[in-house]
């Protein structure tokens, strides 16, 4: 009986069809879900490494601003600037995710899963002559109960004075390193900003939250 039932169920599911999603039965939806789970490779997800796909020639030929984004677990990709002027500077990835920056600091992300819903500082950060006084940085994330959790961190921004050369996809840039050290409820993190002479953050390693960890950003266009 069980074998017959399963065989029939498999055939019937293969034969299932519907003119639109509203007419798809719960059985078929659930079986598709199981199939998707079973089809997923075991172990850590494998990602296409943009470092191997994107070359300096391609970046220069594109002639548009390009941002390289990588999270600590290895997933990476390039993003292009979302057209128009928004609240902050929003970058769009090919997977439909966005990263929004404000003067090179991480403002928000969308479409990455544990999104950073928003980030604010109690005063505007300056790369020219950073104020050594502490300030607050607030990070907002979505809790499991679909409410926003806002945590406030006390931070200081330090100009390390280290001027150094960065090599990003075969191009070299000169930048100064700034460190933003923050401490607050349940977390302590340090953001690093490599800022070039024009005040552009060429590279940053920025804290996103517990779910994603740190995000590395590299501004690739010259």
């Amino acid at each position: 009986m069980t074998r017959k039932l399963l065989t029939l169920l498999a055939f019937a599911t293969l034969a299932a069809c519907a003119s639109d999603v509203d007419m798809e039965s719960g059985e078929v939806k659930a079986l598709k879900l199981i199939k998707k789970k079973l089809d997923a490779p075991a172990g850590p997800a494998a990602y296409v490494d943009a470092r191997k796909l994107v070359s300096r020639e391609m970046i220069d030929a594109a002639g548009v601003p390009v941002l390289f984004v990588e999270i600590d677990r290895g997933q990476n990709g390039t993003m292009t600037q979302f057209p128009g002027v928004g609240v902050g500077e929003t970058w769009l990835g090919s997977d439909g995710s966005t990263v929004t920056l404000e003067r090179g600091t991480l403002k928000a992300t969308r479409g990455v899963g544990d999104d950073l819903m928003g980030s604010e500082t109690s005063r505007e950060l300056s790369w020219d002559d950073p104020d050594p006084a502490p300030y607050t940085r607030s990070l907002a994330h979505l809790r499991e109960d679909n409410q926003t959790q806002v945590r406030e961190f006390t931070c200081t921004l330090t100009d390390t004075g280290e001027s150094h050369t960065l090599e990003l996809f075969g191009a070299t840039f000169t930048a100064k390193l700034f460190r933003e050290t923050c401490e607050g409820p349940g977390a302590r993190f340090t953001n690093e900003y490599h800022v070039d002479a024009s005040g552009l953050v060429r590279k940053g390693r920025l804290y996103h939250g517990e779910g994603i960890g740190y995000v590395t950003l590299e501004r690739l266009d010259r």
Partner: protein, 694 residues
């Protein structure tokens, strides 16, 4: 009995798979064979994490026990189980009897550095009282050891019993009143914590992160099982292994004679396997003013394109001086907050600068389910906002005019063909019976408000027909309404019309919804009727009225009808303040002509989970109702987006209804408006406000 679907099993399996792969680690609390915090058979004073749902299966030679437990409140857990006892009997798998039972476990205080946690509990306090007992228990952790000691009453006061210490407080605790079971299903005799007491105790030892060893001394003499179970020791031993974050397996040696195995699956709505979920980013809002480029014209074509890609069906889009109105059907996002935010972001980006206000109207099956006004300038400021006041300053409910949508719908004919799987539970001869078949469905929309909807089913493989009790078990002295479900199962085998009805739904005024339908309304009933729902925006209460004239369908579920005809109807009140619990009360006339009321209480989670229970009391006497005394059940709704982490509006529905009798029987399709619109209303929006700009 209850009918459910394969999707229930499938969803459960998916949860397991998902849970195994990605669920966050749950705080470990050892669960006993009764599905609540425990050693082996005995309880501990621990509490499961709030909202924890545990499924338990225990098996040994003379016992099969299936249970579900839920931590309703941080300090209150409840459990339901269905047990088959004995061997060599006439019921399924040779069992002598099958029994349903309910437990409650209340944590009085949690363990501190120096003081143990303390809990009290009731076992099998509703029904026949097979396990009828109570306990007061204390638990303290010392290193890797978890030490438990307690006092048992009732069945847990068998071995080395002594005078009840509570008798010093009141004489009523001195002697235990005998259980008066009646037809089961009720509290029966309130003899809790009465009579002699016995001490019990035990220890859990955590051997690393995954293994727990348990030993317990039980005062339960197992007298009810003595005829078939060799009880030669008061000691029980167990070893359990946490195989995945969701699944725990146990092996046990019980009563000095019996090997037993158990499995526990633990889920928690508060531990989504995919976190907050992943979807493509919403359209970023644009900067208006501050020297940003201006937009003199609304780009309607782009708005329509973007919304279509984002899973919205645009029904109407209109603009006046400073406002834009969008009527949409949301086909993708279960969270209305998220749907609203994405629609508003699209309007903010592509509407002209002069448009500072948007009205987004959500439509569901011909109804204007909810409408919201969005201050587009504030929305732009709030999208990455850090507001901690919990408010939604950019959003307000809006009693906008209903738009006439009596025009023809876009896609007139929709259809589907797919397998179905139904099962029935709790037949002692056949505790789980299953049927697989094919279902063909079609819906023809005559207008957006009027449609013809039907489904036919043909069984392919079944053992529903092996039901020797089909047609038996009717309630006494009232018409048969649903206790003959087995006859429908058997006679519907050649193929049957599952439903075929003409349906009309409309919004009479912004907060007043109406629905009417006629035809073969559901498998057992044909007829005509309708309902009205008044659900004021922003108010925590809604009121409903439904009335139907129905006639019982013939057992073959084709076009013929049986003789019994009746009028059924209810007035309803629905209370949802956007908090943790919802209440629904329906009062009126049921299908057997009995008068009474149904109360339903459910715990609502912001991510779409819902866990609830209901009970119906009517003027049918408990002894006439039959086994179970009155109609009751528990249910769970699990959202698909919680399972997959991807946007999906569907929720899977599981119901456990221990007994299906004729009293308190309701027409399943009588009340649908509230469920149809509530997800779009502001109470649910507030629950999920964090998703607004996600």
């Amino acid at each position: 009995m209850t009918v459910n679907y394969i999707s229930h099993y499938a969803a459960a399996a998916a949860i397991l798979i998902a849970g195994a792969a990605q669920a966050q680690e749950a705080p470990r609390v050892s669960v006993g064979n009764f599905g609540l915090p425990g050693l082996v058979d005995l309880p501990t004073a621990r509490a499961l994490p709030d909202a924890e749902l545990v499924l338990t299966q225990q098996l040994h030679r003379t016992l099969e026990r299936t249970g579900a437990s839920f931590q309703i409140l941080p300090n209150l857990g409840v459990a339901f189980r269905y047990s088959g006892h004995g061997e060599g009997g006439g019921e399924a798998n040779g069992r002598l009897n099958h029994d349903r039972s309910f437990d409650a476990h209340l944590t009085l205080w949690r363990e501190g550095r120096r003081v143990p946690g303390v809990a009290i509990g009731l076992r099998d306090f509703i029904g026949t009282g097979w396990y009828s007992s109570e306990y007061i228990v204390a638990t303290k952790s010392v290193g890797q050891f978890e030490l438990t000691g307690g006092l048992g009453f009732g069945r847990l006061a068998g071995r080395d019993s002594f005078e009840n210490p509570l008798a010093k407080l009141s004489d009523r605790f001195s002697t235990r009143e005998a259980n008066v079971i009646g037809r089961g299903g009720t509290l029966g005799t309130i003899n809790w914590f009465q009579g002699k007491a016995s001490a019990f105790g035990g220890v859990n030892y955590a051997l690393g992160d995954r293994v727990t060893l348990s030993a317990e001394y039980t005062p339960d003499l197992m007298r009810r099982e003595a005829a078939y179970l060799d009880v030669s020791s008061p000691w029980n031993f167990g070893a359990s292994y946490q195989l995945t974050s969701a699944l725990r397996l146990s092996a046990q040696y019980l009563h000095g004679s019996t090997l037993s195995m158990a499995a526990h699956v633990a889920l928690n709505p508060k531990r989504p396997p995919h976190g907050a979920g992943r979807e493509t980013a919403p359209v970023p809002m644009r900067l208006r003013g501050f020297g940003a480029p201006t937009a003199d014209q609304t780009d309607e074509a782009t708005i329509r394109k973007v919304l279509a890609v984002d899973g919205f069906e645009v029904i109407a889009l209109s603009e006046d001086a400073d406002a834009i109105r969008l009527d949409v059907k949301n086909t993708r996002y279960r969270s209305t907050a998220q749907a609203l935010g994405r629609a508003a972001a699209t309007l903010q980006r592509f509407a002209a600068d002069r448009v500072t206000r948007a009205v987004v109207v959500f439509r569901e099956g011909g109804l204007q389910a909810a409408s919201y006004a969005v201050d587009l300038d504030r929305a732009a400021a709030e999208q990455f906002g850090i507001a901690t006041d919990g408010g939604l300053p950019a959003i307000s409910t809006d009693d906008t005019e209903t738009l006439s949508t009596r025009e023809a719908a876009g896609a007139r004919l929709t259809w589907g063909l797919s397998p179905y799987l139904t099962h029935r539970l709790f037949n002692p001869d056949l505790p789980l019976s299953v049927e697989l078949g094919l279902e063909a469905r079609a819906k023809y929309k005559i207008t957006r408000n009027l449609s013809l909807d039907g489904a036919v089913r043909k069984s392919l493989a079944t053992n529903l027909t092996e039901n020797n009790r089909a047609g038996h078990g009717a309630s006494r002295g009232i018409p048969t309404t649903q206790s003959d479900w087995g006859l429908y199962d058997i006679n519907g085998q050649p193929g049957h019309i599952h439903r075929l009805s003409l349906n009309y739904a409309d919004t009479l005024a912004p907060d007043i919804f109406a629905r009417a339908h006629a035809g073969l309304l559901e498998p057992f009933w044909a007829g005509a009727g309708g309902e009205l729902l008044y659900m004021p925006a922003g108010a925590p209460i809604a009121l409903g009225l439904d009335i139907h004239r129905v006639r019982k369908r013939d057992y073959d579920m084709r076009l013929a009808l049986r003789d019994y005809e009746t009028t059924t109807g209810h007035v309803s009140a629905y209370i949802d303040a956007g908090g943790a619990f919802d209440l629904e009360v329906n009062a009126g006339r049921y299908l057997a002509g009995d008068w009474g009321a149904t109360a339903k209480i459910s715990r609502q989670f912001a991510n779409g989970w819902e866990v609830g229970g209901y009970a119906t009391l009517t003027d049918v006497l408990f002894e006439d109702f039959g086994e179970g005394s009155f109609d009751k059940g528990i249910y769970i709704k699990i959202p698909m987006d919680w399972l997959t982490g991807e946007p999906d509006r569907a929720r899977r529905y599981f119901e456990i209804r221990p007994i299906t009798k004729d009293g308190g029987a309701r027409l399943a399709t009588a009340r649908q408006l509230y469920q149809q619109v509530r997800g779009a209303r502001d109470a649910q929006l507030r629950r999920e406000r964090g998703r607004l700009w996600k």
